[in-house]
Symmetry: C2
Amino acid sequence: MARIVLKFGGTSVGDIDRIRNVARKIKAEVDRGNEVAVVTSAMSGATNQLVKWVNEIAPLHDAREYDVVVATGEQVTIGLLAMALQQQGVKARSWMSWQIPIRTDAAHTKARIVDIETADMARAMKAGEVPIVPGFQGLSPEGHVTTLGRGGSDTSAVALAAALKADRCDIYTDVDGVYTTDPRIVEKARKIDQVTYEEMLEMASQGSKVLQTRSVELAMNHHVRVQVLSSFDAAVGSDLPGTMVVDEEEIMAQGLEKSVVSGIAFSKDEAKITVTRVADRPGVAAAIFGPLADTNINVDMIVQNVSLDGSSTDITFTVQRADLARAVERLERAKVDLKFAEIKADINVAKVSVIGVGMRSHTGVALKMFETLAAKGINIQVISTSEIKISVLVAAEYTELAVRALHTAYELDAA
Amino acid sequence: MARIVLKFGGTSVGDIDRIRNVARKIKAEVDRGNEVAVVTSAMSGATNQLVKWVNEIAPLHDAREYDVVVATGEQVTIGLLAMALQQQGVKARSWMSWQIPIRTDAAHTKARIVDIETADMARAMKAGEVPIVPGFQGLSPEGHVTTLGRGGSDTSAVALAAALKADRCDIYTDVDGVYTTDPRIVEKARKIDQVTYEEMLEMASQGSKVLQTRSVELAMNHHVRVQVLSSFDAAVGSDLPGTMVVDEEEIMAQGLEKSVVSGIAFSKDEAKITVTRVADRPGVAAAIFGPLADTNINVDMIVQNVSLDGSSTDITFTVQRADLARAVERLERAKVDLKFAEIKADINVAKVSVIGVGMRSHTGVALKMFETLAAKGINIQVISTSEIKISVLVAAEYTELAVRALHTAYELDAA
């Protein structure tokens, strides 16, 4: 007997038939003798409608009232799903986030979970009842409803699994697992059986949309074994595994051969900024990136050229495309202090990343990347690396070519 | 300065523009220097959609989970309305029923309000904040969300007005007041300026759909002055009065001439059942109506004929049309005990009622009714009376004719 948290996304509970189908999957886990708790999103489209109303009524709205409105989507699905389970003969009840409670901080619309009281829920589970919990929300210290930000239901599920000390957290979504890269671009992409938290975290933050980054961080910190699988397959969690996201030790302990590179991620959501002929003196990087940080703009890849004339240099970096206009505007305002020549912006760029914990112990991974791209005539604009990842910025038009070439080069292609 | 509770129905908050319009009405009351609390329904159609989903998922559903789902409609409107007010510069916040709390009994889907804790809310109102409260719902003793049954938002508003000791409870709806009869049938129907609780109660239970019966009972018991007015008029509560529902004493104290009859109500939602040749002995009425009461079927008008042969009689009574099939089925099952000849059912009937507190002190009111109907050739099938009401059952096809003739006979026609 295991204790499992199951999480279903918006498309999985998108209409009444799908909610019934989800109930069947839950029942299958219960029938195996497992203790099951469920976290669910709102019906797909529901949250968008609520957000649309909020924006219509007041473009600059009170974050507290936003949360009151937007949190209703999950309240609908927990009730409907509890009924669907009862209809199938499974003991179930919905638990509102304020009833449990799921305690968060007071940062409305982007709250962080602080604590979940699970004693009552664990007792109900031991008595054979399935608790159905709304994702994406909690209760602030002041007793108000909070939401965690879009996609927060994954985080709710992992946090609940951690609090319940669950053996596994199954995230049901519209894909059947994590792939070596996007199957829509590389036909030979393979589903990965097991991936480490660190790799998943890099994949999530490098543009793979399967799991929310914060949920992976949380899983890593609390050693929650996460499985990603499809809610549209007939089989359920323990039958047909999707992708397990686990500790590196767990994979090592199985004595399995792990490939050096686990996957290729890419993101077209990038913009490149070059600030030319800034003074090449200590403190100039801080003078550029300080104002951007103050404006809540995240800077990702950075490269500073060797000084051209011993007194000035060019600095190139990337930001999210959505932040480009604000970033340029902020730098122009700082021109008096920075004394640069000009700002060049380029949105026709993409970031391609090679990810794998095996890099730590294998050399030559980066070299293979550069050689592969060179062989296809792809120019590398910026490079950044971490212990388990190498990212390069290339012209956007080369994205698919680069991803396919790297997928083959690192022997990820399906047979 | 007065303390006022304003209540807005589903059509009044049916879309974003209407919610903005409602916010303007609230602001006008605030600008007059009044302390204002607001109760709102769900956007029109929202509750129906939620009920539809519930019925699709499980025809026989858990009442507790029904309430979880259906209560979300009002949670959306309280948040949106609070934002609309803030947008117009009015301090406002939404209060969930579990935050206040509005305590109810545990009768899910038809709960009754037991108590409302208003200390915090009254403090917020004194500080110039407008609390926005969801109608139709509360919190059970076990800490679960309950709903009061359809139309329960009127009851929520009156209960909140009683708890806050408000000077007035303004019910904004899609009509501009209570009329002497339905203006769609009688062109000369007049808006009534003032009506007593007792009359309003009879009108509500006799088919006038302006206010929910329970809300009128509650207003009467707690002496809450209720005003019914239209949310689509440009004017607001204190400008252009709709209909005031008040104590008889308040009307008397004004020394106003009050007409003997206040209004003519009618209902086509009736069905007549005649049980023929039942034994004319003590206890037979109980033997018929006991099983119906056990099956939760309300019996309204009753007439027992004079015994035809000294040993058997016919009993005629009315039930809600929706209950007819169940009532007949239940009586057929009791046939062994009751030993009647047959059951005759008739749905082509309507109940027409003349209502007015003046009847208590005036004679001849009933006589005028019977004469008026006779003059139009309308046969009376059943009669029932109370202190302030006379109801007759007539063939449904005569409904409009009867209502118009009575409206004229009691001098209710507008000039």
